[in-house]
Symmetry: D2
Subunit: 432 residues, 4 copies
Amino acid sequence: MRTPAPIAPAQGKLGVLMPGLGAVATTAIAGIEAIRRRLAPPIGSLTQMATIRLGKKREGRSPLIKDFVPLAQLDDLVFGGWDIYDDNALQAATRARVLDGHHLEPLQDVLQAIRPMKAAFDPEYVRRLRGPNVKTGTRRELAEQLIQDIADFKAKNGCDRLVMVWCASTETYIEPGEAHQSLKAFERALDQDDRTLAPSMLYAYAALKSRVPFVNGAPNLSADIPALVEMSRELAVPTCGKDYKTGQTLMKTILAPGLKARMLGLNGWFSTNILGNRDGEVLDDPGSFRTKEVSKLSVLDTILQPEIYPTLYGNISHKVTINYYPPRGDNKEGWDNIDIVGWLGYPMQIKVNFLCRDSILAAPLVLDLALFVDLARRAGMRGQQEWLSFYFKSPVHEPGTKPEHDLFIQQTKLKNTLRWLRGEELVTHVEE
Amino acid sequence: MRTPAPIAPAQGKLGVLMPGLGAVATTAIAGIEAIRRRLAPPIGSLTQMATIRLGKKREGRSPLIKDFVPLAQLDDLVFGGWDIYDDNALQAATRARVLDGHHLEPLQDVLQAIRPMKAAFDPEYVRRLRGPNVKTGTRRELAEQLIQDIADFKAKNGCDRLVMVWCASTETYIEPGEAHQSLKAFERALDQDDRTLAPSMLYAYAALKSRVPFVNGAPNLSADIPALVEMSRELAVPTCGKDYKTGQTLMKTILAPGLKARMLGLNGWFSTNILGNRDGEVLDDPGSFRTKEVSKLSVLDTILQPEIYPTLYGNISHKVTINYYPPRGDNKEGWDNIDIVGWLGYPMQIKVNFLCRDSILAAPLVLDLALFVDLARRAGMRGQQEWLSFYFKSPVHEPGTKPEHDLFIQQTKLKNTLRWLRGEELVTHVEE
Amino acid sequence: MRTPAPIAPAQGKLGVLMPGLGAVATTAIAGIEAIRRRLAPPIGSLTQMATIRLGKKREGRSPLIKDFVPLAQLDDLVFGGWDIYDDNALQAATRARVLDGHHLEPLQDVLQAIRPMKAAFDPEYVRRLRGPNVKTGTRRELAEQLIQDIADFKAKNGCDRLVMVWCASTETYIEPGEAHQSLKAFERALDQDDRTLAPSMLYAYAALKSRVPFVNGAPNLSADIPALVEMSRELAVPTCGKDYKTGQTLMKTILAPGLKARMLGLNGWFSTNILGNRDGEVLDDPGSFRTKEVSKLSVLDTILQPEIYPTLYGNISHKVTINYYPPRGDNKEGWDNIDIVGWLGYPMQIKVNFLCRDSILAAPLVLDLALFVDLARRAGMRGQQEWLSFYFKSPVHEPGTKPEHDLFIQQTKLKNTLRWLRGEELVTHVEE
Amino acid sequence: MRTPAPIAPAQGKLGVLMPGLGAVATTAIAGIEAIRRRLAPPIGSLTQMATIRLGKKREGRSPLIKDFVPLAQLDDLVFGGWDIYDDNALQAATRARVLDGHHLEPLQDVLQAIRPMKAAFDPEYVRRLRGPNVKTGTRRELAEQLIQDIADFKAKNGCDRLVMVWCASTETYIEPGEAHQSLKAFERALDQDDRTLAPSMLYAYAALKSRVPFVNGAPNLSADIPALVEMSRELAVPTCGKDYKTGQTLMKTILAPGLKARMLGLNGWFSTNILGNRDGEVLDDPGSFRTKEVSKLSVLDTILQPEIYPTLYGNISHKVTINYYPPRGDNKEGWDNIDIVGWLGYPMQIKVNFLCRDSILAAPLVLDLALFVDLARRAGMRGQQEWLSFYFKSPVHEPGTKPEHDLFIQQTKLKNTLRWLRGEELVTHVEE
């Protein structure tokens, strides 16, 4: 195992730039501000709350992660972003109806001060939304404007470092095409105003060009194409993604490893979701839904390894549906029917009803990923960060390998990576 | 880390002696027979179906566990046991209504041939049951009769080795008393016909005395008292327990680590069960229920570590109820309400409805534990086997330490112990 | 109120002809045969099990319905039908996997003897199915062949009377067109081989032409078009329909009246279904699903009367989805989320999970409707029988009126109609 | 049918006196005040929102109930009550955490002005509660003090009429004893300070003595003993009860009639509840739970008539449990497992999960019952009012008769009683 490089200290301000200042972004910003003011604990955030066990169990060494690796301080974070609506963060948060009025009230000043920059938007990629706060121009022009936005934000806010964290909508489904195969092809496509470059790719390109790490919270291709992987390696910028693992898929990556641990078979897994927020509206479009569906469906196969366990997992009916149902608002609800098979082939059922809150689950991921990807940058890590798979529905991975979906392996990988970074012994749970 | 001893080969017949030839035992026996005849795959059994990854991921080495460590062959197993009813195994299986008639039919001859020996029973310990097939005598006399039963069975069936696997009822709740504190006190209590020695302790004593490993599938104290721990160490016999982890608690040890991995808080966890089998009838007695309740309640605290995470897990309403509801039969059903807390303290709910089958989930554990505890014996392991915690609701553990309840750590521990036994590298999920 | 006509006695054999000898029809036939042989009670059948209260409560008069009105005897029933597969009823029942082998075994002879006649089928109307056992010819020729089938069956089986009970698939969605507006237009369309005449209309036409009452168990238009309503009145033949009310919609027409009785408001009602039988396969086609969806969605509006209660029911998100999920087989499962609103607008939720069996719920309706529509014929009732709304998802109704969906009003209507037929006092539940 | 008496007009103020100024009472008061100020519609209240159909359906006559019978106006209501805590109604409402702060804020003045009178309380009857605001004295003295309270309240508030509506806790289980058999025995027991007179009986006695109608919202015996029934008849005062039908039992009386309408059999009905309010705390005491359990269990038998339908309903496992689970607060949650049986005995399951709000469902019943029992008084109706069964879990009924539990028959009874009071034709749903 190679020796880790020394990690640069986290000095100065860290700017967090978010494409999409909607429910997720404003919930994250409001929450971080509340935490800074000691109004709330940082529930759901590993970087703030979790400990990491070091050495043997009997040694009793379990520092907080934030005391173990040099992360940016919450007080050093500055927020900005882009949106197709020109609501400030307070208006957007109020509209999103995630947080109650009494939670927003003490934070009004901070939220009002955050106004979105004009978005790079193409309605062909998100068919159910239209907004006034958009840039115009060719793909190349849009990219240049974003690069300029980044530079302006950094200068204006006196930031030492920046990260970009995608918090906007799911784009329509596309497969990687010719323009995405190399950085050269990508640059040419920019010049030719090639519409196969999705807006999210322009953001990722602008970030990388500016040496800003990019976190992809949606299932969009974005930085996960050969062209931008190449760019991130060459410019030594880390990226990670895709698609925040929050509600139903989080549960899937908890439950499936558990069932497999016990060698229980599976006949089918039927997942349905009802949600009534803007995300639900966007996913009511078949193109955007397809992108999300691919992200959600991939999970089981890699966890269950049907190629190794054909008797148990070789023939699973796996179905995922999403329904736009306005009464739910942001309170996304999942219903899963898991048809398992036991001894002698006897069938059993597990039904999981998750009354969750979409943005409440996503917000701490925004914080953790901003801090971890900034850590990665300072530790000299480049390209796609597989050790952050823990946070994503569709973890990026090396071509030719399979992504790791098992939440518990992902967790071990994340924590052992931190241990490795600091030269601590890796944990194996034997003879402790 | 110390070097493992060489493992004696698994030659000759292995007798599996089960106190309690009811639903669980007969489902296990019938299933193993069906598997031997290639009528069914061994679903739910790690020893038969699971693989174990060796070396680095890219090496692609993943043999079956049963090809990796020298386990007894299914064809070498012989079954016997005790029960308070004198039904043969076919009658008992039919009465239990776990397996359909068409599954039992081809196995009739084998099952009919298995007739229970007279049980050592005390109605004070299981108040809801009475049966005619019972031994009489003092505690000492009962123990001696059991030792004789074991010797007779071994001789009659030409067994090379034996294991004892508890498949009988939950006894009433007791705390370890004076008679349980040392082997000497225990022996004296036997002589004095001391009623604080529960029948399950007599079985465990008889097994250990006969150098037969003891598996404790119920939450009863049984071998988990200082007297018998001492005896198992001195006589170099392994034991393991307590209480098969099957339905609701299995789910709990899958879900709780997942929620904790994400630093989601918990306000409460309400678990209710409905079941209509003999087990449900026994647990309708408050004394027996108390024993089970203690076993079920202990789980969350050790997984969640409220002492380290008081904000998240310091104040949980954890409640478990069991309801005897005849329409369910053996199809135990669990309903869990998990009240979680996220970002800024927002509450969410996870509801899990598990339509499970009690004996179907327990049967493969009988097989795995019989084989693993026999392996442990041949590998020279003695005393309580913590690496088998994976299978138990209340894992035995060293005094002064906490049991490990997290299913995924338990799994890592089990597999890394097997790797260690064979001199293979332990897995850490880093840099693979 | 007009005086009822005398009812002709139920003498001789009653032939029950079923288009579609699949899961529903064979479950009905097998069950009726089992009941005739005293192997099972007629659970789910009003005509066989229900009582009807007469006079004041204190009089204690509650005869069985079958002793109160002159229904055909079960022993007088003879079964026949059409299907696109040429399986006999035993094969079809086995394939449908609704009834266990041990239920079918004693009935083998009877079931094997029932072989389907060739079906009038048009794949344009049911896109997911294809079968070999089909008639050829123009619409007119198909109709004539069906009429001949009916006459042949009657003669061959020595029937005194016949009824036709639709048990086949849901056809694709169509709106009534020109050819359906009058009997004359319909006859002309037959001659012109007009494909807007759905196969189910040909069956209904053939039945009416033969003076055979027609029961419509699917949501297809069938006899519910002006042309055939006209015909049923002129020829004095009763019809009824549409779409057996079995699982989820049955629950809806039970729950919605209850919520309305208490003036609880409604924000939304989300219904999803998973099923894996042939019906599920057919409904996976958007055209057939649309027909079913219209039938399922109509229910709430008429029960809740949003025009009278706009505050409570003026703005409901009502959504119904059906998912083809093979692991369920015929065990259709429904999940309903009912978002209700109470005092001061506070929201509450009712979630209903119905693990039902599609054909088990439908089979007794086949029996009841065959007997009741035959009674109606003998009582001189003609045209659409609204008093049988109790059994249907989309009750037929007079043009310009609204259908009655409330199960409890439907039940009162049915029972008071029977009371009226026999000259008994109608029940009002006052001063009893 | 006898002719109804003329109804005295509803002039002047109507005082509503509530024993128990806790969650239910304060939610009712706050809501009525909000409705008076047009801040909210009276959802859940029949008297305010429901219409009543008159004549034939085609006549289209459906006035609001409040326009059809002469009810007291909301503006004429005045509220008062007793409680063992001396919180004013605002403090009590805040503590109960039923209504959000922003709902209570505009109503602060009204709520603050309502202060509880000292309660007649005996800790033997409600073991889990203790409070400082209690009267002292013998049973006779307590009764006299209550009578004086009533008179004082009436005078002080210038009321024309009063009603008393029980909103306090469930008392421990008792059977009617000697002291309850006649008014004479009751009076003697008062003089002898007989502790078998429960506090709730003293309230009922004081009400009747003051000619004030009494509504019993709890399952306590209260006025449902021969002594007080006799008194209510002699003094021509109406009473009604027992136990508001709100969550789970409401659902039961909706669903059971629906299942019976279809002649579906029942193997079992398992009901569990989790709730965390004061009611849950009180019911955690086995004595109080027993009172509630009896009330909840009685429902199914009378609806299903097992004596008439032994095959379907002769052997039902009916189980009800209540669990005190603090995380739920007032948001009581019910989970029902309904094991139904269909055609040929095939089992099916209905699972109902009701996320309800206890006090939100009860509050409108307080309003309706206050208005209806006042109407009954003005219409000269005396004794137990069976036509108000619609609102109660354990409807009072004539000795020797069975209570009516079917919500739909109850509704018909209520509405037809109103029709009868006004000389309108009763509805039968035939030939409309």
